[in-house]
């Protein structure tokens, strides 16, 4: 039984804090009664050792890149160099305040300014903002700029085009910005269906959001024509940088005709995923969109770095201060360490690793889209399903072999999808082990199917009852046991089964 932090009790005097110096009552008597907290917060009481032991034990229940191969498609679970953690932790970067005088934070501003410049060069864009906190936040930034741009041009635009293979954040962001979402079909070859796209183009199109390579891991060969067609109706083309790990030194979104680009520093540029963030989602734009970037921009005059004084057409601010500096500085260090040759080697090895797995695994898995892939590919467990085992079961069984599951049931357009992204940092030896493991599981499906159907067996818990979790939600511990832990109203059942709730995006 997994003990909650609230369920253990030991001596806690918070002795890491200095003494008050005067009686508690004396200070409390200065606080006007109307502002005083009436009931003490129900925090736990634990000694330092018990806290350390609790969270250490929790950590040991996690799979992580440091310990496990993690071929989670679309999430780019590459190795996170440890040097970058220590750089981000340096006092000179972690112990500085966003409202210090510019003269006292020239080092930090230099990092931000140079980072903007690096990202422009890598993506072929003209200017970058580092403010967005994550990919979806970058999308919000981008779509708000799309809106501001069209408003400025006095164009009435109401729709955003999004391929049916896209991540959920794309339509969610478009809707958040007040746009109607129009889906574009994928053709049999796994590419954006150009005819379908063209049939949906008219003056109401604000922009097309897409990624290249697409979520099937395929390079969109028609990208130049796609961009041209959207531009012809006065629309903008937005690049979701989820798959940028395929393009470093290979080609640039800016040269393909994209007007706005967001990057996920926590994917391509080695910021650790931190069990779900923080990431960073910088946004790059072409010249005509620069006036709409969030404020403040960071400029360089002579050898001084400064914040831009005012930007009247800016969309405003998406968060307080300037961005996830602690994440940005990791990626800055990463780009400096790798350099242009190292960045190129990232995509070369990511693409090579993915193609190697695709070639080897196509021996016994169905691979719906032939040809070479970029940094990831999608296979289908259809053949295995015919033998009674689903992609979900295979994913769970992989855990028993110490491998994190791939992304499954995404993209939605592939049946029993398994999306595999090995990343560049894995060795051929690791990939060969993975192939052997999948082969062994494939054999189990025929010989001892229950072992797969009932997997995982070696994780801290076996398959989790997600239906009960959703129907009778228990979302917190209550220190005051007189109140029920579950909400008193019925919570509707999720509209899709738990099988669909698999990793979609980092």
């Amino acid at each position: 039984m997994s003990e909650l932090i609230f369920e253990r009790n030991s001596l806690n005097e918070a002795s890491w804090l200095p003494e008050l110096g005067e009686p508690e009552e004396k200070i409390l008597s200065q606080v006007p009664e109307k502002f005083l907290r009436k009931k003490e917060a129900g925090l736990p009481s634990l000694s330092e050792l018990d806290v350390v032991r609790h969270f250490t034990r929790l950590s040991q229940k996690n799979f992580c890149v440091d310990a496990n191969f993690y071929p989670l498609g679309s999430c780019t679970m590459k190795y996170n160099p440890k040097a970058l953690d220590s750089i981000a932790s340096m006092d000179s970067f972690s112990q500085i305040h966003p409202y210090q005088e510019e003269s006292g934070v020239q080092g930090a501003l230099k990092v931000l300014y140079e980072m903007q410049t690096f990202l422009c060069g890598i993506t072929g864009m003209d200017e970058f903002t580092l403010q967005p906190a994550a990919g979806a936040h970058g999308e919000l930034c981008g779509l708000l700029m799309v809106g501001a741009y069209h408003r400025f041009k006095k164009r009435h635009k109401t729709k955003v085009l999004i391929p049916d293979s896209a991540h959920g954040t794309n339509p969610a962001t478009a809707a958040l910005c007040g746009y109607e979402v129009v889906q574009v079909k994928t053709n049999a070859k796994g590419h954006v269906d150009l005819e379908d796209l063209k049939s949906k183009l008219d003056d109401s199109i604000a922009c097309l959001m897409m990624t290249n390579p697409n979520t099937l891991g395929l390079f969109e060969e028609d990208i130049l024509e796609i961009a041209k067609s959207v531009h012809q109706v006065g629309g903008l083309v937005y690049y979701d940088g989820a798959n940028m790990n395929a393009l470093l030194g290979v080609c640039r979104p800016g040269d393909m005709g994209f007007d706005i680009v967001h990057l996920n520093l926590h994917k391509t540029f080695a910021v650790p995923h931190g069990s779900g963030g923080p990431g960073s989602g910088p946004v790059g734009v072409k010249k005509e969109l620069i006036p709409f970037l969030p404020e403040p921009r960071i400029l360089k005059t002579g050898d001084r770095y400064t914040f831009e004084a005012s930007a009247p057409q800016s969309i405003g601010k998406l968060r307080s201060f300037y961005g996830n500096f602690g994440a940005i500085i990791r990626s800055y260090g990463y780009i400096k360490a790798l350099g242009k040759e190292g960045l190129k080697a990232v995509s070369e090895n990511a693409i090579l690793n993915a193609n190697y797995l695709k070639a080897k695994l196509s021996d016994f898995f169905e691979v719906p889209h032939a040809g070479h892939c970029m940094h990831e590919f999608v296979m289908s467990a259809k053949k295995q399903k015919a033998r009674g085992v689903k992609a979900l079961d295979i994913a769970k069984r992989l855990l028993d072999y110490g491998v994190h599951a791939p992304t499954i049931y995404f993209p939605l357009i592939v049946e029993e999808a398994m999306m595999i992204e090995p990343t560049e940092t894995e060795s051929k030896t690791t990939l060969d082990e993975f192939i052997q493991i999948l082969r062994a599981i494939d054999k189990e499906i025929t010989e001892t199917p229950n072992i797969v159907l009932e997997a995982p067996h070696s994780t801290p818990v076996s398959r989790i009852d997600e239906v009960t979790a959703a129907r009778q939600p228990n979302l917190r511990y209550r220190a005051d046991s007189s109140r029920p832990a579950t909400p008193s109203f019925p919570v509707p059942r999720p509209e899709q089964s738990a099988n669909c709730c698999e990793p979609i995006k980092g």
């Binding site: 909650l4 112990q95 051929k428 989790i464 979302l475 979609i504």
Partner: protein, 445 residues
């Protein structure tokens, strides 16, 4: 420096297995002319050179270990016990993904459940999500939630709310057809008469920052009562450390309580990453943005944790989701959970009392200096504004000479606040710092 594991021979064998003779064949679909460009990134360097260079770059920053910081306004120089980073930076937490794969992520999932519980206990609210980006974006999401759940069109934001937070709300709401109404301040707090006047039947929510941007404590109970009387929701944006002694949002009846989590064990780091907390009353649970972890059982009936109520989220609902948020600030929230666990009941109160005392000692001392005057008559917690009738550049130079960071000039956000400065005083400030601060101000012309 590269972090590649394939040897030259590996690569050769892999290309052969794929059936190509060179890497270029794998990217043959990328038009040739797109492959030619200059990346504008210098050549790579070793780890040794990188660290050396970063140490050098860092020298141009004035940091808290060499300067005493009186800067606040959302981010504060609090002490972070060693245990927080020691635990949070374990590879098992920092290099794992969002816990969608429950069986392989019980550590993260349980810690999120505990984080949610801790935030609810702290704020006296019913439910919490797994975290947002920061305080400002949480406030914006709270405004969106209020608009969504009420069907009304106006959000009332007092001028005493952090100016950057107001800007962020405005940005988020730019295309949703909502109206933001500013409520003027009086004596550095909400002008009650103006609030009453602005409260009509189209108001979805009133925002209350406690303590507010000026550090002042607002009349939270009265504001909440007036808000509810008009049928609107009360969104409280609170400083988590203050809740050790100051009334939590649940006690005055807030419907949504959000805030900046940085003070809870996260380094200031030039403004991020930190985390935003987001808590609600039970009635709003189904409309809350972002991830939520729940407790359930596994097949064998053992206590287990899993992400739940996902039918609100973008990966299921796409354009009908309650928010577009996906990646949040999980690791920062974990730091918050560890920090609150270390503090415990006793520690939280003690910390809040130390902050109160240090700030009030500083305030009293500053007012003894010639040319220093009160800015507001309201009560405050660990942050306050005063008027310093001195030349600003002379004051800045003197503060720099005495190795002091801050205070924040309120003129930065509002030209009307000439000579007004905001001071934050945490447990990290010592009597010796105060002596230096007094000398610095006295020494300015």
């Amino acid at each position: 420096m590269q972090y590649i594991s394939n040897t030259a021979n590996d690569k050769k064998e892999m290309l052969h297995a794929v059936g190509v003779s060179s890497f270029d064949e794998l990217i043959a679909k990328v038009p040739k002319h797109l492959q030619k460009f200059e990346m504008g990134v210098p050549a790579g360097i070793s780890e040794l050179e990188l660290v050396r260079e970063m140490v050098e770059t860092g020298r141009a920053n004035h940091h808290f270990h060499h300067y005493a910081s009186y800067l606040g306004a959302g981010n504060y120089d609090h002490f972070i016990p060693t245990v927080v980073n020691h635990l949070a930076l374990r590879g098992e937490f920092i290099t794992s993904y969002t816990p969608y794969q429950g069986e392989a992520s019980q550590g993260t999932l349980q810690s999120i459940y505990e984080y949610q519980s801790l935030m609810c206990e702290l704020t006296a609210m019913d439910y919490s999500n797994a975290s947002m980006y920061d305080g400002a974006s949480s406030l914006a999401e709270a405004a969106l939630l209020a608009l969504r759940s009420s069907g009304r069109k106006k959000i009332l934001i007092p001028d005493s709310v952090h100016p950057e937070y107001r800007t962020v709300v405005k940005t988020y709401l730019s295309f949703v057809g909502a109206e933001i109404i500013h409520v003027p301040s009086k004596d550095a707090g909400v002008d009650m008469a103006a609030l009453e006047k602005a409260l009509d039947s189209d108001v979805a929510a009133v925002v209350l920052q406690q303590p507010n941007f000026f550090g002042s404590l607002e009349e939270a109970t009265e504001i909440t009562q007036k808000t509810h009387a008009a049928g609107a929701l009360l969104i409280a944006c609170v400083n988590p450390i203050s809740l050790g002694i100051i009334q939590p949002p649940g006690e005055y009846g807030a419907d949504i309580a959000v805030g900046e989590g940085q003070p809870l064990g996260n380094a200031v780091a030039f403004g991020g990453p930190h985390f935003g907390f987001f808590t609600v009353k039970e009635e709003l649970l189904r409309k809350i943005p972002g991830r939520i972890a729940g407790m359930t059982v596994d097949k064998a009936g053992r206590r287990s944790f899993v992400l739940t109520l996902q039918a609100r989220e973008q990966h299921i609902r796409r354009e009908k989701a309650t928010s577009n948020i996906c990646t949040n600030h999980s690791l920062c929230a974990l730091k918050g959970a560890i920090y609150l666990s270390l503090l415990g009941k006793k520690g939280l109160k003690k910390l809040a009392l130390i902050n109160w005392k240090n700030a009030h000692d500083t305030y009293k001392k500053l007012l003894t200096i010639k040319g220093v005057k009160p800015f507001s008559s309201r009560s405050f917690f660990n942050e306050f504004a005063v008027v310093i009738e001195k030349d600003e550049s002379s004051l800045r130079a003197s503060l720099e000479n005495h190795k002091i960071l801050g205070p924040l000039s309120l003129k930065r956000f509002d030209a009307h606040h000439k000579n007004a400065y905001l001071f934050a005083v945490t447990e990290n400030r010592t009597p010796a710092d105060l002596d230096r601060l007094v000398k610095a101000i006295e020494g300015a012309k």
